[in-house]
Symmetry: C2
Subunit: 651 residues, 2 copies
């Protein structure tokens, strides 16, 4: 921060994006770009030039892109990130004496003042630039020098001084004198494309058996892969597949006493057959697991595993490393609680143990174990109940070795905490989407995610349901409600997911008065008619095809909500970077009644004017409309389709 040379006159401050003084990187996927903003100014009237400097961690040489002033001393530059890994960037600026001279001499010449002395000063600038120039630029500069050196050609010289080309040559080759470089190298964590664009399907392997007489296995999951592929999902997420504890095992519907045959919660991890690095023998073997991973790849699907850092009382860790748990005065181990609630089948780790370093190492080895087994995606259970310093270390450690792993943070908690986990480089996060119902709630929330600094580090993954959340609005098997919630998840967010069978088959009877499932798969084995397909299944297939074919749906931040004259109609516009793919979504939020009203086309964004006509092709139905004005009538009947998904073409 200390000023080394008092002649560094340029000030650079208020850089965007910069997360907590560069402590955390911003996130991108390969192929995206980073727009960098900064306040840049100096004393006095001289002109300034500024660049964004950037390089990939594996490149030595810095590249530069020129910044442009937006007005009021705010500058902007943009650079592409093409490779996975870390990019570094910073900003540099300097008083541009050569261009300042050019602007001054132009003003004086235009004012009819003598510029004799100014031309002598200019020759110094030009010759100085000549010494730096290369190739044909040298000749161009020499041409200007020759002209300016001649006497009696004043008119010609004044005209030449106004050449844009002359200014460009000075920009390129004149001296960067006493440059100020922002004192930190900021980082871009560049990930693979799936970090930004993915469709998740969740199921319980033990419920995958085609035979109601026996529980499902990993082999049964493998047999379902073609079906999931056909639905268009590319991530298959499995709850924990480890041995399940016996002590305090939960019975059906979360009862505190299990009876013979109750399988227990998969999140009560560990028994005498092993812990986090074992597979429940009832589900299969490591060979079965390897086969599942391999088959999935052939179907274009990746298997996501659950990482839940907690133990059943029977987990081998409890005996082997008692110091990792909290012991009570009565000699028992502290189980998980949120008083007065109790979770006796689950023991949390005590992260305040004196042996925390070994605990951290062991937990890291769990990730590494499954990475070695071919897993590239993890859904991390309740990360907000483990210390942030632990995750900061863990993410750095894991990412220093594997930069293609995706981590989905399952933290349904307060905003600051979810944001912090995003900054600690969890790849994606669950969200509050599940509880956003009316038009303003949805708009405000999506704008918070996409129009604030959160877009730089927090990648939402929209789930209309999970095994833990049976939202009020989906508790009765209303097809329109299911279709609408899925449609919005899949078109508002480029990452989305569903707790699949319950969603497809709309079997969502609640525990009375709660947002929980009756007969939850968390506590018992279910059997599904996997041969069956509903209209919801069809929508999954259709919307996933449309997502693959329309780049506008492959990014979350490119969204603008549109005005409608009916509060039950939600409309939003999305586009791809080239703006060749432009979509307008209109949703009827009322699952029970048709709703109609005017919807406003975002003409400014579309680059259109009053009077332009647009062809609106509904990609769901194939119907085509011509919209001839800014405001257009829409009628959506939930009995048919509760939404339009228009591709917009200018007529």
């Amino acid at each position: 921060m200390e000023q080394k040379d008092g002649r560094q006159r340029v000030v650079i401050e208020n850089i965007y994006p910069e997360l907590q003084e560069g402590r955390f990187p911003v996130k991108r996927v390969a192929g995206e770009s980073v727009e960098v903003y900064a306040d840049i100014f100096a004393d006095g009237h001289d002109l300034i030039s500024a660049v964004v400097m950037y390089r990939h961690e594996k490149q030595r040489k810095w590249r530069e892109v020129r910044m442009e002033e937006l007005g009021n001393d705010r500058w902007k530059g943009r650079f592409p990130v093409v490779r996975e890994g870390i990019y570094f960037y910073t900003v540099s600026g300097w008083v541009d004496h050569a261009r300042s001279w050019l602007h001054d001499v132009r003003a004086k010449a235009d004012d009819g003042q003598s510029i004799e002395v100014e031309l002598q000063m200019g020759l110094l600038h030009l010759e100085e630039a000549l010494g730096r120039a290369i190739g044909s630029y040298k000749e161009e500069l020499q041409g200007y020098i020759d002209l300016i050196s001649q006497e009696g050609r004043q008119a010609e010289i004044v005209q030449a001084l106004h050449d844009e080309r002359l200014e460009e040559l000075l920009r390129r080759f004149s001296e960067k004198r006493f440059p100020t470089t922002y004192p930190r190298f900021l980082r871009v964590l560049t990930e693979r494309r799936k970090a930004l664009f993915s469709a998740w399907y969740e199921l319980f392997p033990r419920s995958c058996s085609p035979d109601p007489a026996r529980p499902g296995t990993l082999r049964d999951v493998e047999a379902l892969l073609p079906r999931i592929e056909q639905l268009g999902f590319d991530v298959l997420y499995l709850p924990p597949i480890h041995p399940i504890g016996h002590s305090h095992r939960k019975g059906k519907n979360n009862s505190t006493t299990a009876v013979e045959g109750d399988p227990g919660s998969p999140w009560a991890i560990g028994n005498e057959e092993g812990g986090h690095k074992s597979i429940d023998p009832a589900l299969g073997t490591f060979d079965d697991f390897a086969s599942l991973i391999e088959s999935a790849e052939k179907h274009g699907i990746e298997i996501a595993l659950d990482i839940a850092f907690q133990c059943s009382p029977d987990h081998p860790y409890v005996k082997e490393n008692p110091q990792w748990f909290k012991w009570r005065p009565d000699g028992s181990v502290q189980y998980a609680e949120n008083p007065p609630k109790k979770y006796q089948d689950v023991l949390p780790f005590n992260f305040e143990t004196g042996d925390w370093k070994n605990l951290w190492k062991e937990l890291k080895s769990i990730f590494e174990f499954w990475i070695d087994k071919g897993v590239r995606i993890f859904r991390v259970d309740n990360p907000h109940t483990k210390p942030f310093p632990f995750w900061e270390w863990m993410m750095k450690e894991l990412k220093s070795r594997n930069d293609d792993i995706i981590y989905l943070a399952e933290a349904f908690t307060r905003p600051r905490i979810m944001q912090r986990l995003g900054r600690l480089t969890f790849t994606q996060s669950y969200t509050y989407y599940t509880w956003r119902n009316n038009k303003w709630e949805i708009k405000d929330y999506v704008e918070e995610l996409t129009q604030t600094e959160m877009k730089e580090y927090f990648r939402p993954n929209f789930w209309p349901n999970t095994p833990d959340i049976n939202p009020w609005k989906l508790q009765s098997p209303n097809e329109a409600a299911y279709m609408m919630q899925l449609f919005m998840a899949a078109t508002l967010s480029s990452n989305y997911g569903v707790y699949g069978p319950v969603y497809e088959f709309m079997e969502a009877a609640p525990v009375s008065g709660k947002e929980e499932y009756l007969n939850s798969e968390k506590y018992e084995i279910r059997h599904w008619d996997w041969a069956h397909e509903t209209r919801v299944s069809e929508l999954m297939r259709d919307i996933n095809v449309i997502r693959r074919n329309n780049k506008a749906l492959q990014n979350t931040s490119n969204i603008e909500f549109c005005e409608t004259q009916n509060d039950q109609l939600l409309a939003y516009y999305k586009w791809d970077d080239s703006e060749s793919n432009r979509l307008l979504m209109v949703v009827n939020l009322d699952k029970d009644h048709p709703q109609s009203g005017l919807v406003r086309l975002p003409l400014e964004r579309l680059g259109g004017e009053h009077g332009d006509k647009f062809v609106m092709l509904d990609l769901m139905t194939g119907n085509q409309y011509v919209w001839e004005s800014e405001w257009n009538f829409v009628l959506l009947d939930p009995a048919h389709y509760p939404f339009h998904l228009f591709r917009i073409e200018k007529l």
Copy 2:
């Protein structure tokens, strides 16, 4: 930044106020306080405690004030600054295990669960706290320990567990385990009260002669002190008093050729009689200056000098230190320009000289020279045309030796630059007030100054005019316009000033089509009838008395604009810290016509309710009104008074 102990579970981020990672201090005057905000949270469900730690630079021991959670993980604490100098502050937070235990055991007891083991755990917490407690607190804690240790007194124990006092004892004495302390010590630059509350009067000494036959002198200024005291001003600001150059001296009305007797611009500093450390012999001697300073003090006035770092071509520096100037190819020194404009009587320093270190030292010695002569206030001319690193160094150097000097930055330029100078610890700044005319412009601007981060470092000083700015609205001698502009400057901002004689006597004929004065005192000697007083003079006297008697007018940030049903009526409410002094100002912005309409009392701020009655005492006129509802009728006639200044009393 590095995590030392992985068990420091609390995260502290997004501290407010913090200027550029602590590089710059926030500003206060002695007697104010600092409200510190931070996002503070940890993993899991445990309770957190947090404090602001602070100390004066001359104290060794840190003090602590407890922070309170405002909701959504945002916390707030406040500490007082009582001495001038630097205060350091930071934030510390920790997982509060004792209070977490208390809350858990309360929840379990209320739920009817057994708390036997919990009481055993609680005894550990209480005994641990006992070891830290002092005095009578020890007995109180022992009392709780004795009670909880007894069997068969369950009901009594449960009741005791709910004591607020028990929680308070645990807050005070339980262990701060693995605390996280924010990694930077932030600073508060605490200045004397005049930094925040001052009224400036500007005049040209050479125009102070009572005898039209001769120019004014410092002795003549001294003779005017009783008059300025009577008007109620406490700072008398003089343009440069140094010898004035001859070369390219400007004539009357800024003409490029001076004639015999033209005195030149006081800002063209230096001739054969000396430079920045000399007094123009026409004005007087150092003895005269010492006498002026001494007399001023007796009249409760401080003399503010102008520091303008530039030279006339005749300044001794030009010969003695030619390396501090920019030389052109024709052997001349570069004068000040903003092409096509030229200022041939002024040479800027070349801050890019290789000899910059000596230049900086010499310029610092100019400040020190006048500080030694008893000057405590400087108005710094055009600081934005000298490098920011220079000012950062200069302010640090000067303030390390004298913490009671006030620096007013005269930078009328772009926002980012004015803000930067504020952060570099210029005490006060000129503003855009001069050009804010309608209700929304005034409201938006004042809210930017008082409701954003600017309030932490940028102290506005509102000037309705200066020798350089003759604003359109004051170019005709309209008494109402003059009164309104003065009234708003003096009541919107606790620091304000006027270019005095021109303002009092409303002699403001413009250079045609420009916001400049015809026959400007910058280029010629004027004579004023100092015995004369106008209604504007009377208003100065009255408003300065009112400012002294009403604390609500001694701070700028305590302001809330009020709704009015007429866009020509501007209303604003101000209050002091104790809210015992509460003022409502209403201004008619239309200088030519009476305006009337309803004005809304800020009932929420006033702590009032519908139906409350308020006595409104107009401090300008002594008239008294009773307002019986939220909206009240106001009529303001510019021919009489174009404003109300109400002191509000609840009936």
